[in-house]
Symmetry: C2
Subunit: 584 residues, 2 copies
């Protein structure tokens, strides 16, 4: 059997690799105040993108002067490198070959010291060039102009090859349709009007000063590796952020009614900006009941009936239920679609959106059917946490505290700063999310499919053996939230560890007081209802993690030093539960 | 975070690695007829396993003499290597350490020239020792004795440590329960009675002469690699064959009513022999309708309600429908269980059981929901093909012919010998299955998830663009079997290739006559009903493989030289279909 490629090999672009890039002009412009400290925006290269007439050269030169950086026009560099005018390169070698050379020139320029780079209109529309710009650490700025503004500015340029013998309006409209979705991937967007260039330049500098890249955490899973982005305003920028990882600019959004009301319009606008079509926005009722077989089937049928194909991605916008359901649908629709997570609860941001576990419930039990399906990208927008009910935010924080106890350093942060996160402080929340994801993703990377005999992913169940039993006893109707069960579970795990001599006698007190201080229950007595020790132990023996009926615990030696064990005498557990006020 | 292992390090076994293995005795026994050709069984080492008293030494010595091989007793070698009696090694270092040394001694002995090796009763019950024996290429023979026979033979050995101060019956019963399931993994089993040892020895030699290892084809998929075993009688030996790859000796069997009636009792007995518990045997109605969401849910619920856990494997016993349904259930039950395929149709043996595609149908279309879930082992028992209706066997052969056209050499075999396979000749069927699996698994290994732009798994759709359209037009009620549609599709693909000048003008005639000779339809006229060219083309444009509405074909240059293309003028297809007798 012979497999035939239909690709052909193009001739080499003559002078590109041979001709050296001209040295940039002197690094400091004449107008730069000689003693002023360098502007913070001058620390990295700035790439200006936009339509013909947007002012990339005119604003770029002014910006370079103000920042004390060299200004370079990419097209000029390319012509120098190729030894030919651009129109000639196009004619002789075709666009793909030109774009290839263009990307290499731009990448080489950006590999040097910071500069301001104006790019040709089509450069940033090439996906590989955008990737090269992003990889270089430069920040791209889209100078966005309305059509009337552009038309006024290009008046008099009718002799340019782009407009020759054509209606400029038609040319610009066609280009805008094609390029705006890709320009939207620039991290900074500045709307340009007919104001003087000096004013626009000042606004670009302000936008650069205000811009914060989201924190990016790589999850190292080989060919299933992905990034978690943590920051504010990511839902609004979702289109630009996810576009680079999509097979095609088509998505199915799966969300629930509550989240749809709060965040779907923002997401829709953000996706539209990057030219991403929502094939279908599927809304399920909020709550655990949506993780049913019936809902699963109807989500799949809706997505496929709407025309989802192999290149369509699934975007989950919501908490753990939406993420589990949408992720499982993505795993099996057409045998696997690209999956994007936009978790909107603290619990989902710190826990369920990391690790690739997806699934639904059967009447026999929770999460009995599902798949390991890693997302291609996670956007943890800490801005949306402000819309959460305080009780839900607190419950999510229990998993942060758990990660703290597993990690050590993070536990100290919890004791010192955790209350700020629970109070809604954006910086504290961002830290809590980032560090939780860092801990969890490291554990997951080492044991993706929970196959380690000891340690591994099982450690993430710290507090969960007790927590799951308490949750199950309370039913899943909202009397006890998962995170609240985990919080009490953490208190009990610490108490059990101390009784068995694994950790200091002080640790349980520290754990319990911190959790209680942030408003979480941490002891069975905090739950205001009676439990039977026997019933709880029965649940624990039937836990998925139990082996041959032996209860399995994660115990603590100290914050940052936990271990898994099946070697706990049932009597010790029973005594603890009775001492905590449980009945028989 | 610190992950703690509970394993402890044992002291080294003193003399094991230092002391050399004693040279085996002279290679030819005194009784061997000096001029007789060596017995075929003498070409590889023979490992005798069985209970104490089964006669491993007594039969082993006689067998060695007859075969002209050295005889070695493993326990003697181990004592020499360790410089200690076995009881002492047990006492000092414990059983795990003893088994480890035992395995290394046995592996070293089997790495040399052929010999007859009697093993201690517990050696073969150690999974790693069994794996070492299998990996060495030796053949294990279980000398199976009934309890009364054993009791008679061990009479007088009450002083042995095994029986000291114990009831021999109790000791033996306990050992039989523990060890018989693992002894059953020996490829050759000989029942021993009270007959003279010479008689038993003769029967062992007969069994060795009759024994054929199944052909083993490795499918190279990295950490998802698995073997396909092809041969007769594999269902009856299923327990012994699958036991080495099971996480635990527990399985759920999924089959259909027809197959259950024919082969489930054989499978059940085969599994029981190796001590494998059938947690649940789930039977679905035969036919495509069982690939439904409702059936999928009920299979999952039945499996989990019966107690399937993470270490339970799913065994599919049946054709393509059962394999797709059971494979998908295995992929998602508890986020993925070990999956074993026992395909019982020729189509499933040569096609659907290789490649890991699993799934179910929606009312919107076939196979729209599913997963790539590779089996851990495939048993293609060519013996069961004798129970297939001839039409179904022929339809399965169409995929063999397709693999022939993709592979080249196999096409020549088809023309020469294919008719024997269709007539049910076991050797021809075994060859057809083996070579089809070899071709398909090589294609799959290079493009597991069908992501190649050109070639790759898509090539396996040779004949399927036409075939799927014909099938869809006929409905899926059995008027046209999948393989029959593929056969006509192969004829049309060859005809189209010739019309477009890609292959010789003779090839279509060769393809069509071969398929017709074995009783398959190969031209539209063979189907005895009218088709509309427009309707067929409409189906082809909507095929999953079509891109932006362009029909996608696999065309032939010659047997062994196929390629994928979207570059076929619709008019050429239309003209072909009209010339073949289709209406508008």
């Amino acid at each position: 059997m012979r497999i035939v490629s239909r690709n052909t090999v193009l001739p080499a672009w003559p002078l590109l690799d041979a001709s050296p890039i001209p040295a940039p002009p002197a690094p400091f412009g004449a107008e730069a105040a000689p003693h002023a400290p360098p502007h913070p925006a001058a620390a990295r290269s700035i790439v200006l993108v936009g339509m013909p007439g947007a002012g990339k050269s005119s604003i770029g030169r002014r910006l370079a002067t103000k920042l004390g950086l060299p200004f370079i026009d990419a097209d000029t560099e390319i012509e120098a490198a190729a030894g030919l005018p651009i129109t000639e390169i196009f004619t002789r070698y075709g666009e793909p070959h030109f774009r290839d050379g263009e990307r290499r020139v731009i990448a080489r320029l950006l590999a040097g010291p910071p500069l301001v780079l104006a790019t040709g209109g089509g450069a940033f529309s090439d996906a590989r060039t955008r990737a090269a710009v992003a990889a270089s650490g430069a920040v791209a700025v889209w100078l966005r102009c309305s059509l009337p503004t552009l038309l006024r500015r290009v008046a008099g340029r009718e002799h340019r090859p782009l407009f020759l013998n054509k209606d400029p309006r038609e040319v610009l409209e066609r280009l805008m349709t094609a390029r705006h979705p890709t320009f939207a991937e620039a991290p900074v967007i500045v709307d340009c009007t007919d104001e003087p260039p000096e004013t626009t330049t000042r606004r670009v500098m302000e936008a650069l000063a205000a811009h914060r890249d989201p924190s990016r955490l790589p999850v190292r899973l080989g060919d299933r590796a992905y990034d978690i982005l943590v920051g504010e305003g990511l839902v609004a920028r979702a289109g630009a952020l996810i576009a680079p990882v999509l097979p095609a600019r088509r998505v199915v959004v799966i969300t629930d009614e509550n989240v749809a009301a709060l965040h779907l319009p923002t997401l829709t606008a953000g996706l539209a900006e990057a030219g991403i079509t929502i094939v279908s926005a599927i809304t399920v009722p909020p709550g655990e009941a949506s993780k049913s077989f019936a809902q699963f089937q109807s989500v799949l049928e809706a997505a496929l009936a709407a025309g989802a194909d192999r290149r369509t991605a699934v975007v989950a916008l919501g908490g753990g239920v939406v993420g589990d359901l949408a992720g499982f649908a993505a795993a099996v629709a057409l045998r696997g679609l690209t999956f994007i997570q936009i978790p909107t609860t603290l619990l989902a941001q710190v826990d369920s959106s990391v690790g690739g576990k997806t699934g639904i419930n059967l009447s026999l039990g929770k999460n009995l059917v599902g798949a390991f399906h890693q997302p291609r990208l996670v956007l943890a927008d800490t801005g949306v946490l402000g819309t959460l009910p305080p009780r839900e935010l607190r419950a999510g924080y229990a998993e942060v505290a758990k990660h703290g106890l597993l990690q050590g350093e993070l536990w100290n942060w919890c004791e010192a700063e955790g209350a700020r996160a629970v109070a809604g402080d954006p910086a504290a929340l961002a830290h809590a999310v980032m560090e939780s994801c860092r801990l969890k993703s490291a554990v997951v990377a080492a044991d993706e499919r929970e196959e380690s005999e000891e340690g591994g992913r099982a450690l993430l169940n710290l507090g969960h053996t007790f927590g799951h039993a308490l949750e199950a006893e309370c039913g899943y109707g909202g009397e006890l939230l998962h995170g609240e069960g985990v919080a009490v579970g953490l208190g009990l795990a610490a108490a059990l560890s101390a009784r068995l001599g694994h950790c200091s006698q002080e640790l349980p007190g520290r754990v319990i007081s911190h959790l209680q201080e942030v408003g979480l229950p941490a002891r069975i007595g905090d739950l205001g209802r009676k439990f039977s020790a026997e019933a709880l132990m029965g649940r624990m023996r039937k836990d998925k993690k139990a082996r041959e009926g032996a209860m399995r615990f994660i115990l603590l030696r100290a914050p940052g030093d936990c271990f898994t064990t099946s070697d706990v005498a049932p009597l010790a557990v029973q005594t603890l539960l009775r001492d905590e006020g449980c009945g028989e």
